[in-house]
Structure formats: C-alpha cells, structure tokens
C-alpha cells in the first residue's frame, strides 16, 4: 500500500490534466480531444485498479492510509494540509467514478459525435471526474469542499451545455443555486467543526466526534448542529427533500451527463458525506433520526413523482432521487446501514447509469424524443438497448439475484431492525422502504413497458435504429454489472467486511419481520406492482396525449408542487428582499462607493496639481517634508515625555 500510495494524486491528476489541455488547447485539439478525454479517464481507472489491488493485498487494519502531500495554507491556528485519504470507502468511489466514468466517456464519443462542441464536453467531463475524485480522496473537509464545489461547477457547466436553449440555461442555474443552499450547510459545518475541534482534517475530527480523543470534543448539541449542517449539504448535492427540485430539470444536460453525474456519482456525494462523517452522526442520535426521515420522505416523494412522469429522463431522475432516499435512509440507521448505503450506491451506480445510457440510446434512435407516450414497441428496433435496459430494470426492481436485490433488500431489512429498542421506528421506516420498493417496481415497469412494450406510438418521421458499438458496448458492460455485481460482492458479506475499516464492525440486529418472510413479501409486492404496470402499459393502449388523470397524478406531474412551494416560500420573499436590497444598494452602498470614487478622483485631481513638473517645486516639497517629519518627531518626543 505504502509503495503505491504515491499514485493516488494521479487519480485526480490525469483527468485534471486532460481538462486543462482540452480547455487551454482550444480548437487545435478538436480533432482528437475526445480521445484524449477518454484516455485521461482510462488512465485514472487503471491507476484506480492498481491501487485497488494494492489495497486488497494489504491486511484490513492497514487499509486506511492518509497520504500527506503538502501544507496548503497555514494561517493562524488553521493549518490545512493537503492530502489524500485512501481507504476502502474512497477506494469504492474511486472505482465507481473511474470505471463507470470511463464507460460513459466512451459512450459519449459516439453520442456527441455530431456536436460541434464535443471537445468542450469532454473537457468538462474530465473536469468532473477530477473534481469528484478530489471530493472522495480528500483527507479534510476543506479539500472535500474543493471537490464538492468542483463537481457543482462541472454539473452546472454540463447541465447548461446546450445553453443556447433558454430552459437549459435556467436549469443549470437552478441546480447551481439550490446546490449553493446546501453548500452553506457544509461551510457552516466546517466552521462549527473548526471552532470546536480546531482542525478540519478527518484524522482529527472523526476521532474527536467518536470521543476517542481526550480534551477535544464537543457537546451532543454541537455535534447535532454539525450533523444537521452536513445533512443540509448532502440534501443539496443529492437532491434530497427539501432541496430536491433541481434534479428533474438537470436532465436538460446531455444524457451521458445525466448518467454519470446525475445518477451514478455526483448526486451520491451526499451519501458519501454522511458515511464519511459517520462518527459525527453517531454522536448525534437526533440528527440520525432526521437523516432517516429525510431519506424516507425523499424515497416516497421520488417514487410518486416517478409514476407520473412521461419524460423518460425525468422519470429516471425521479427514480434516482428515490433510490438515493434509500441510501440516505440506510446511512441514518447506523453502522449496519452504512455498508448497505454504500453497497446500494455502488450497484445503483451501475444499473442507473446503464438505464440512463439506454434512455440515451433510445433517444439517439428516436431523434431526441423523450416522451414515453410516443415510444412503444421499440424492443424489435433496439434489441441491445432493450436487453440491457431490461437487465437494469430487473436490477432496480430488486429481483433475486440481480444486483439491486442484494443492496436494496439489505436496506429494507436493516430498516426493519429496531433502533434503541424502539419498534415503532422499525415498523415505520421498514414499511416506508417496503412500500417504496413496490412503487419503484411500478414506475420502473411503467417506463420499461411504455418504451419497449405495447404498440408503436411514434410517427413515420421517426426511424428507430440501434446505436453504434461505441454506445452499446458500455451499455452491455454496465448491464453485466447490474446483473452480477451485487451477488458477487454480497455473498459472504464481502462488501460490508471490506468497508469495516471505515464504518466499523456492527452486529446485525434482529428485524421485526424475520428475514425469509421479508424477502418473500418484498418479491410479492414488487412482482405484483410490475404486473400491474404490465397490464396497464403493455397490454392496454397507452394514449399518446396524457389523460388529465387523478388529483395525485396531476400533482405528481408537477413534482408534487415542489417548484410552486419553493417559489412561494423562498423565491417570492427572496425577490422582495433582493428588490429592497437592490434599492438600498443603489441608494446607500453605490452612493457611498461612487461617492468614495468621486471623492478620490477629486482629491486626486487636487493633489495632482502639486505635481507641476518644476524641479524647484519638488525640491521645496522635499524641504517641507524634512520640516514636517522633524515636526512629527518633535511632537512624538513631546508626547512621550
């Protein structure tokens, strides 16, 4: 481990270099720029594999490595050392980001082939990979924050990639602004941590929260505040309630972006933050409960919205939101939950990325049509897409033995375990998770059947066709992952054991419903919901124009009024506030500032008169100066006596 840890900075270095070359190189790199992007991402992935094998061959207790690079800044009591923390948790993310990222890079080469700005796109993608790796490899909250902002920036740039369309630009701005709200939480959390612990390094903060350091620490109330601030940050980045509104609009970006950033990696950064800060959460039980609640609410919220969306990408976005709700819920359940949260994050990264790429492939074949009501019967035309998406669909449903089963069922089971001997929590959150699974099955089946099953509903203008190999191969690889990854890592608890150096070992409590009945119950619900969807969307006719629908459907179509709520509660008061501030700014601040500028200019013009060009005046000035400083010295002497 020690001998290869020096490679870790290159994980960030390769894609950063790629982004730099592509952005600074300008049009000169247009011809081969996309391949450079792919190469940079591949290089990071290879580096990741080297590190992974090194880590696997290291004994478990030596797998957490802090690699100090240099002292970044040193100001007063704040010493920020720039360094890398490589442990099983960050390693997992590194593999997810670089591996899935590389596949999506390859996919994008074909997907963006006709875009005049393909080079810029790859520059942003590389930038994103670099920032995301910075985020997960950081050994302090401050460096994590750098990566956090970096992915936010990359996300902003990519959502608004086609910014000549106004809705895209607006969506990008919306995502950016809502993320800023969450970022305030992270900054506040850092400030609180620094005020109480005197450092923002993980190596100092986390033991302090766990109470392992004598003399350093803070009260439960403080840790609760810190944890809630961190949760706010996580909510912004991971589109959790109440900061979820941006994710649906973020689908305005190119589909590979949705797959990589808004499904597989960036939006899961919030979960990463929660698990990384596990000791802080554990020091604040109230905050843990809030985390679980947020997860539960988002889980149902996303699922309900997902049922009503006709835009294939927005339906998938709602699903992402809901699935991250699962992860968040698990992250709030303590040590057992962390393993499953990250595990689900990993499997979700594969199958959701696969689903998104599939959606992209469908759009590619359907001239960028996204309305599922205009799809139907596409399985014959896009067989590869159909099969890969089908495997992803089974995975997200959580059907045995697909990936999703191992992770999601773990979460449901953990949710049914009583916390602190309070069975009501087990029943409540367990049921929510279970119901969520059923709704997930419904809307995902709806999506699948509306797209591939039933009658064709598209015009003759469309000529659906399978995508080129550059696109289908990544989809196939991701589909294989969707099928097998979960089982491979779950058998014998491989993955949870792998994470133990970070999350600590925890005995699995006894769920209120025994294991086997729970699995069977889940499957019954899931298959039932899927059959319902099959009947409704594959067997019966799907109207091309959406029916008016029930009150709930209409509400769900409007994202359960999330935008309306935000507008009323935040935007309107905000606008009133800004208007009054603008007025105040113009009248008072600008007045003052411009007044200052004008005064400076006027004084300057006056004083400038002294600079009259005559050497004799200058000499006189010097002589006066001598007298003045003599006077000053005299006064100083008089005063001091």
């Amino acid at each position: 481990m020690e001998n290869v840890i020096g490679l870790a900075p290159w994980l960030v270095g390769f894609p950063l270099l790629g982004a730099a070359v592509l952005l600074l190189g300008g049009r000169a790199t247009d011809r081969w720029g996309h391949w450079l992007g792919v190469a940079a991402s591949t290089a990071a992935a290879v580096t990741g594999f080297v590190l992974l094998f090194a880590m696997i061959s290291t004994p478990a207790e030596e797998r957490v490595v802090d690699h100090h690079l240099w002292t970044w800044l040193s100001a007063g009591g704040l010493d920020v050392d720039l360094g890398v923390r490589l442990d099983p948790l960050s390693m997992t993310f590194v593999m997810l980001v670089t591996f899935v990222g590389t596949l999506i890079h390859v996919y994008s080469v074909a997907y963006m082939a006709h875009d005049p700005h393909r080079r810029r796109f790859f520059a942003y993608l590389n930038l994103f990979v670099a920032a995301m790796l910075t985020l997960v490899l950081a050994d302090s909250y401050l460096l994590l924050f750098v990566g956090w902002e970096g992915v936010g920036l990359a996300s902003y740039l990519l959502i608004g990639f086609w910014d000549h369309k106004r809705p895209n630009a607006v969506a990008a701005k919306k995502a950016f602004v809502m993320n800023r709200v969450g970022d305030m939480g992270l900054i506040a959390a850092m400030a609180l941590i620094f005020a109480n612990v005197g450092s923002v390094q993980f190596a100092d903060v986390l033991p302090a929260a766990a109470g392992e350091l004598s003399g350093v620490g803070a009260s439960t109330a403080t840790w609760t505040a810190v944890a809630l601030c961190l949760l706010l940050a996580a909510c912004g980045k991971s589109a959790q309630f109440p900061l979820q509104a941006w994710l649906g609009d973020a689908m305005a970006g190119p589909t590979p972006v949705s797959a990589l950033i808004h499904a597989a990696t960036m939006v899961t950064a919030g979960v990463y933050l929660m698990v990384r800060s596990a000791p802080i959460l554990e020091a604040a039980p109230t905050a843990q409960l809030v985390v679980v609640c947020v997860g539960a609410v988002t889980l149902i919220f996303g699922a309900v919205v997902g049922c009503a969306k006709d835009d294939i990408k927005k339906a998938l976005a709602a699903s992402t939101m809901s699935q991250i709700g699962y992860m968040m819920l698990a992250a709030g359940l303590g040590p057992v939950g962390y393993g499953f949260a990250i595990f689900h994050l990993l499997t979700h990264g594969f199958f959701k990325a696969g689903l998104f790429l599939g959606a992209g492939s469908v759009m590619h074949g359907m001239d960028d049509e996204v309305d599922m009501r205009r799809f139907g019967g596409l399985s014959r035309f896009l067989p590869v897409t159909w099969i890969t998406m089908g495997l992803g669909w089974l995975a997200i449903l959580g059907v045995f033995p697909f990936s999703g089963f191992w992770s999601k069922d773990g979460i449901i089971e953990t949710a049914f375990v009583p916390v602190d001997g309070q069975p009501w929590r087990a029943w409540l959150f367990g049921s929510v998770a279970l119901v969520g699974a059923a709704i997930t099955a419904f809307y995902m089946s709806r999506l699948f059947f509306m797209t591939f099953g039933g009658q064709r509903r598209w015009d003759d203008d469309h000529h659906p066709h399978e995508s080129p190999a550059l696109m289908t191969v990544p989809m196939i690889i991701l589909a294989i992952g969707s099928v097998a990854l979960g089982g491979l890592l779950a058998v014998g608890g491989t993955f949870t054991t792998w994470l133990e150096p970070v999350t600590g070992h925890a005995e699995h409590g006894e769920p209120v419903i025994p294991f086997w009945p729970l699995v069977i119950l889940t499957h019954v619900l899931v298959i039932g919901a899927a059959l319902l969807a099959f009947r409704q969307y594959a067997v019966s006719r799907v109207p091309v124009t959406a029916p008016r629908g029930s009150l709930l459907t209409r509400a769900a179509r409007r994202d359960l009024f999330q935008d309306a709520t935000n507008e009323t509660l935040v935007m309107l008061p905000g606008q009133v506030l800004t208007r009054s501030l603008v007025y105040g700014d113009k009248a008072v601040v600008d007045g003052g500032w411009l007044g200052l500028g004008a005064t400076v200019t006027q004084v300057g013009e006056k004083v400038r008169g002294m600079q009259n060009g005559y050497a004799r005046s200058y000499a006189a000035m010097i002589l006066t100066g001598v007298l003045v400083i003599a006077g000053v010295a005299g006064i100083a002497a008089a005063v001091s006596q």
Binding site: W70, V600, M610, I629, A630, A637, S640
Partner: protein, 600 residues
C-alpha cells in the same frame, strides 16, 4: 599622520559577487573602448547577462555557506575591512537585486521586432537636431547602457550590505549616478527623457546632500559613522550602550541626524513627501530602465532603510525609537494615501505604474514601521513579489506601441503597414488590447492583480506579510489603514484590466485617442506633461514624439510589437514567478525566514 595602521582584513569570497558585477562594469567600459561597433552590442549583452548570472551563482554558494554556519561571527556577518557587512539578510537582498537586475537586463536587451531598442543613438545630441538624425541613420547605438546598468546594480548591492554610513553614501552615489544618465537615454520623447534625468539628478543631489548632512550630525554626536561596528571600532550603538557617547541633551542632534539619513533613503524609495520625482522620472526614462529602476532601486532603498531603522530602534533607547517610528508611520500613511489617490486619476500607463510604485512604498513602510524581525522578512518577500510584477509590467509596456497609418489606409488594420513609433502609453490606447494580444494582456493583468494584492498572486502573500509585520509590531490600526488603501488601489488596477479586456477596441476610439495623444504631444497640453513640457522651456513641438516621424504624428494606431526573445522570456518568468509565489509561497517565505536568522 596615522599613528598605527594595520591593513584591514578583506574577505574576498564575501566580496566576490559585488566584485564580479562592478568588474563587469569596468570591463564593459573597456569593451566600449576597444570592441568594434559590429559586435559591441552583442558583447556587452553577453558580458552583462553572464556577470549577473555568475553573481547569482556566487550568492547562492555564499548563502549555503553562511546560513549553514550557525551564526559564527566572521562568517555570518562578515565585516570586510569593517565597512562591508554581508549578513544573510544583506545577501538575500543582494540576491533579489541581482535576479531582478537580470530580468530587467533582459528587457533592456530586447530590440523587439521593430528592430530598435529603447535607447537613443546618441543620448548627448540635442533633441530634434539634424545631428540626431545623422546619428540615427549612421546606426549608432548607445551600448554604454550595459556597463551603466552593472555599476548601478553593484551600487545597490553595496548599499544594502554595509554598516558604515559613509560607505552607504558612496554606494548611494554609485547606484544613482548611472541611473541619472540612463534616464536621459530614451530613444523617443527625448525632451521628456532628458528633463527626467535633469530632475532626477537635481533632486537626487539634494537628497544626497541631506543624507550626508545627517551622517555629519551623527558623526558629530558619536564620533563614528558606523552603526554597530565591532570591538575595535565601536559604532554609534555600541558607543551609546557603553556610555562613550552619552545621549543626555544630545537626543535632538541624534534624531535630526538619523532623520536626515532617513530622508535620503526615503527619497530613493519614493515615499511621500519625497516622491515628487517618481512620476516624472518613471515616465521620462526609457521603459526598460524604468522597470529596472522601479524594481531594483526599491529593493536597495527599502532594504537599507529597514536595516538601518531596525538597528537603530532596537539599539537606541526607546524614546528615540518611538520618535523614529512615529515618523515612519506618518510617512507610510501619507505615501499610501497619495499613491493610491493620485494614481486613480492617471491617464498614462507609465505614470500610473509610477504612482503604483509610490503606493507600494507606502505598503512597504507599513511593514517597516512594525520594526521587528517580521518586518525584515516581510520586506524581503514583498520586494521579490513586487519586483517581478514591476519588471514584467514595464516589459509589457515596451511592447505596446504606436504605429503610423499609411495615408489612404484609414483603418490601419494591416499590421505590416506604417512605422512603429514609441510606446502607446495613454490609457485610452490600451482599450481592447486583450483581443490583439491575449497572452500579453493576460500577463499584464496578472502583474496588476499581483500589485493589487489579489489572492493566488504573489502580491497577496506579500501584502499579507507586510500587514502582518505591522500587527506583530502592535500597529494593527496601521495595518487597517493599509488594507483600506489597498482597497482604493484595487480600483485603479482593475480599471486598467477592465479597459484592456472588456472595452471594445473601437477603431475610431483608438484613432481619437491617438490623435488626442499626438495633439497633446504637439502642443504640450494634457495632464502633467503640460507643466513638464513648459518647464523644459524649449521646442514645444515634437518634443514628446519620436524623432523620425515629426511630420506624421496625426494618425497612429496601437500595435503590439513582437519581442525578439529576451523580453518575452523576462515577462514569462515574471508571470510564472508571480503565480507560483502566490500559490506556493512556502519555499521563498522559508528562505526569507532564514535570511533573518542572524540579525543582531
């Protein structure tokens, strides 16, 4: 008769850097005498650059020796014959001076793609005479510039490395006299150049007189011109401490003497109210020389100032120290205020940079006023940061030129037309420069940002250190004043950046600006140039314009000439240094920290 004379011990190794530079100057004069015209310029440039490079190496070697010596007397603070004192701090200053001089010399050596350097064919000719035209056509060149540069650099190196006020005076003259001459050698705007030299000389002589008068007063009090001295020849401080020169009733004399010495130093530094020469001289001197002067002279002046002040204030009783400190504080405030306020209304890029340099003198004085070891360290780093930004900025100014518009081609867009004239120094001419020369503009913007003290540039770390030194000296309120002044200063730096990058280079606007400029030059109107021209009292017409285009001044456009290499290298090095020092200041800060190791 000298009763008993023992030959002083001379540590040639300690003197080697100084001797190499001055020796190169002497050899340079001989080169002028014996080397034929055709190869003279190349020889001079090679000689100068090689000597400076060798000096850097010597200083680095010496540095390793004395910093690693645990402060053993005789090694860490060598007293050569009791006059030259090469402490680590002095050596660090010398190193800074030589490196900056090297960069400055690169800019000086550049002929640019216009094929002409910045210097007059014969600086002694009366401006605008046929003799001048003759000399130009004969292809004469003033290669004396290089030995003069060497002498000035040598003087600066000696200036910061002496404990002896008389030696300091000699060094002051050695550094000043070549600069006076160099100021008069501008190729274009000859009258302004000569006027600048005359002013600089007169005022410099005046300040020197005050300096030497101060030395006389100090000698009158203490019977010595050394500050610290050694066992055998105790200096002022030793004599006061040992009671040989009691202060009773003599405080006024001592303080007056020290203040006059300070005036000499503050004059060189360009601190208010001894700053008046700065804008006129900076604007009149050939731009590469201005860059060299602004960077290196300032290092020498502030280095000597901070050392003298620190030595005296720490060594003398507190009431004297308090008086001196108050004076420095007042001067610092005045300097910051005037530099930033008047800088904000300048319309000429060289004058703007001159006022910027005055403002920086103020910020430096904030650090100096702290009077602690932190001040010494802060000054060192500040000078490195400010020096590279200054050399680079003036280097950029040398490349932005006016070009005549060939009649019939009103737009003048074709870069190959017309004759390249002098520098386009009027701010209006810099509008939209970002589109013509993005890299050059970016570099210039970087230098300005560094001077403004924006984070991630060297200037930020420098200002942070300077204000930190004031705070360490319990002068937090002065640091606050400094920060406020910095805020105002940001205004005029950013104004230029906005002008270059975001104001469209409307061709009409440019032409209008050039016409205004030409008219200004022709009639002698316009800001301070007005009085400057008037005071020079001769030929109003053409005085400010290039000699070869006396008939064709009305229509010019701004053009960026290419560097022949050296200036580009210098600008690039400065830009990289500005960035690197801003992002990773650690190593240089550590070096600066080592430099103050053995300060007594």
């Amino acid at each position: 008769m000298i009763p008993d004379f023992t030959a002083p011990l001379i540590d040639w190794a300690a003197l080697a850097p100084l001797l190499v530079v001055l020796g190169a100057g002497v050899v340079g004069v001989l080169v002028e005498a014996f080397v034929p015209d055709a190869v003279r310029r190349a020889t001079q440039i090679t000689l100068a650059l090689a000597a400076l490079a060798a000096t850097v190496v010597l200083i680095v070697l010496r540095w390793g020796l004395i910093v690693g010596s645990d402060g053993a007397p005789g090694v860490s603070d060598v007293l050569v014959g009791g006059t030259v004192m090469v402490t680590p701090f002095a050596l660090a200053l010398q190193g800074t001076i030589v490196v900056l001089a090297f960069l400055g010399a690169l800019v000086v050596a550049d002929r640019t793609s216009s094929g002409q350097d910045a210097f007059a064919p014969t600086a002694a000719a009366v401006p605008g005479t046929s003799y001048e035209d003759l000399a130009r056509r004969a292809g004469l060149q003033q290669t004396e510039v290089y030995p003069l540069l060497m002498f000035a650099t040598g003087g600066m190196m000696l200036f910061v490395a002496t404990d002896d006020l008389l030696m300091m005076f000699v060094a002051l003259e050695v550094l000043s006299l070549p600069l006076y001459v160099l100021c008069a050698t501008a190729r274009r705007r000859r009258l302004l150049s000569q006027e600048a030299a005359a002013k600089y000389f007169l005022l410099g002589a005046f300040a020197s007189a005050l300096f030497i008068f101060g030395v006389a007063l100090i000698y009158g009090f203490a019977g010595t011109v050394r500050l610290i001295g050694d066992e055998d020849k105790p200096g002022v401080i030793r004599r006061v401490l040992s009671g040989d020169a009691p202060l009773d009733g003599m405080t006024v004399l001592v303080v007056a003497g020290i203040l006059l010495v300070l005036v000499g130093l503050l004059f060189k530094l360009g601190a208010v109210p001894f700053h008046a020469w700065t804008p006129d001289v900076y604007a009149g001197a050939p731009t590469p020389i201005t860059g060299f002067m602004a960077a290196c002279t300032k290092v020498a002046a502030v280095g000597a100032l901070v050392k003298v002040l620190y030595t005296l204030v720490v060594g003398l009783p507190p009431e004297v120290g308090e008086q001196l400190r108050t004076v420095v504080i007042v001067v610092a405030i005045l300097t910051m205020a005037l530099g930033t306020v008047v800088g904000a209304v300048q319309t000429d890029i060289k004058r703007l940079l001159a006022y910027s340099s005055i403002a920086h003198a103020g910020f430096l004085l904030v650090a100096v006023a702290g009077i602690n070891l932190e001040s010494l360290r802060a000054v060192l780093f500040y000078m490195v940061a400010y020096g590279v930004a200054t050399v680079g900025a003036f280097g950029v100014v040398t490349l932005v030129r006016e070009r005549t518009v060939v009649p019939g081609r009103a737009d003048g867009a074709d870069g190959e037309d017309g004759v390249v004239l002098g520098e386009a120094t009027h701010l209006s001419q810099w509008a939209g420069l970002g589109r013509r020369a993005p890299w050059l503009t970016a570099a210039f913007a970087l230098f300005l940002l560094s001077m403004a003290g924006i984070p991630l540039t060297a200037g930020f770390v420098a200002k942070f250190g300077a204000f930190g030194a004031a705070v360490a000296g319990d002068l937090w309120w002065l640091a606050v004043v400094g920060v406020l002044a910095s805020v105002v200063a940001v205004f005029f730096y950013v104004r230029v950046i906005v002008l270059m990058m975001f104001t469209p280079p409307a061709e009409e606007q440019l032409l209008a600006g050039a016409e205004a400029r030409a008219q200004e030059a022709a009639t002698g109107t316009g800001d301070e140039a007005e009085a400057a021209e008037a005071s020079s009292g001769a030929e109003p017409a053409g005085g400010g314009v290039a000699t070869e285009t006396r008939t064709e001044v009305a229509r010019t456009v701004v053009t960026v000439v290419g560097s022949r290499g050296p200036a580009a290298v210098a600008i690039a090095v400065c830009a990289v240094a500005t960035l690197v020092l801003g992002v990773f200041p650690g190593p240089v800060l550590e070096l600066a920290g080592e430099a103050i190791k053995f300060v007594p």
